[in-house]
Assembly symmetry: C2
Homo-oligomer: 192 residues x 2
């Protein structure tokens, strides 16, 4: 998939801070699904471990293809510091940061692997300091799913929407009206 | 706010189908917040009426400004049909639709007020037929919050991020690190 690599060049990992099972279940799921659909390689989350979400995401990957890993960390500080120690960069999405349109070119021109951090109700001050870029997608209260999606769309300049998902068992054929899903056979050969 | 009117020309209303209080509470809230933050005028929802969400959104509007209305409908079919009868257009965001990049120019060039519909688990076939455009933001399963956000970002070509929110009581001053919020006084004069 050389083409895919070229079209979405920067490798990105999402870090979701402070997941709470009851309250965040669906929003965190949406975050991970958006991350996968919009060209990220991986997601990591802190807070409370949630096996249901992990299963949901893995089911989606199995069915719809693509390579996307999801892991839990009980020490996000250590995770971020180790990330930085390997000369990779960190973007923190926050409504308090610098507007994306003033910053995205600089981020885009940096070809290091990127960790994209999204909160959590209260993001500790340390994260603002550890980030190379504190970026806002509007300075209004809205949604980390929304902020992440627009950020990725800007980072990849829309090419993330052309991404191919290798090994998918099914695929949508776009329609003007209605739904068309085709089942793909190639995946079966792995069991032979 | 002539400038605002010019920069985000098309008037858009969100229709969220089939809200369920327990399951959708936070995702629907995120949808409405994203709609408001990204330049929509109004949102309407069907399913179960949820006063908590209505209050949350109105609190945000009071505090952060802007004009955004939220209403409930117990008959979304009627609502959509009446919308269409007034020569306004309808976009249905669905993973089964035509890719946004193939369709957005046509949508953008249509200056009628737009209803943007997002599901709900199962969207009835009728919606696909009533829509002028069934548009997909990636043909992968992800998030209606994500799809709406990227759609609006494409529709308004990024200008939605420059929107001013009139009558705000507070405003963020973007920072490289940390948070800065200023309290605005003008709102008080309304009480005099």
């Amino acid at each position: 998939m050389t083409e895919q690599r070229d079209s979405v060049r920067t490798r990105t990992t999402l870090l979701r801070l402070g997941h709470r099972i009851a309250r965040d279940k669906r929003v965190t799921t949406h975050l991970f699904l958006a991350a996968r659909a919009l060209g990220m390689e991986a997601a990591v989350y802190s807070g409370t471990r949630d096996r249901n979400i992990e299963e949901t995401i893995m089911e989606v990957c199995k069915s719809w293809g693509g390579i996307f890993s999801l892991q839990y960390t009980d020490d996000y500080r250590k995770f971020v510091k180790e990330w930085r120690n390997q000369n990779r960069t960190v973007v923190h999405l926050t409504m308090y940061g610098i507007p994306i349109r003033e910053q995205i070119e600089e981020v885009r021109n940096n070809h290091a692997d990127k960790l994209i951090i999204v909160g959590g109700e209260k993001v500790p001050r340390e994260i603002y300091d550890l980030a190379d870029w504190n970026t806002s997608v509007s300075s209004q209260p809205h949604s980390e799913v929304s902020a992440l999606s627009i950020f990725l769309h800007e980072l990849f300049e829309g090419r993330e929407l052309e991404k191919e998902f290798v090994g998918a068992k099914q695929k949508i054929v776009p329609q003007k009206r209605g739904k068309k899903v085709v089942q793909l056979k190639h995946e079966d050969s792995r069991d032979v």
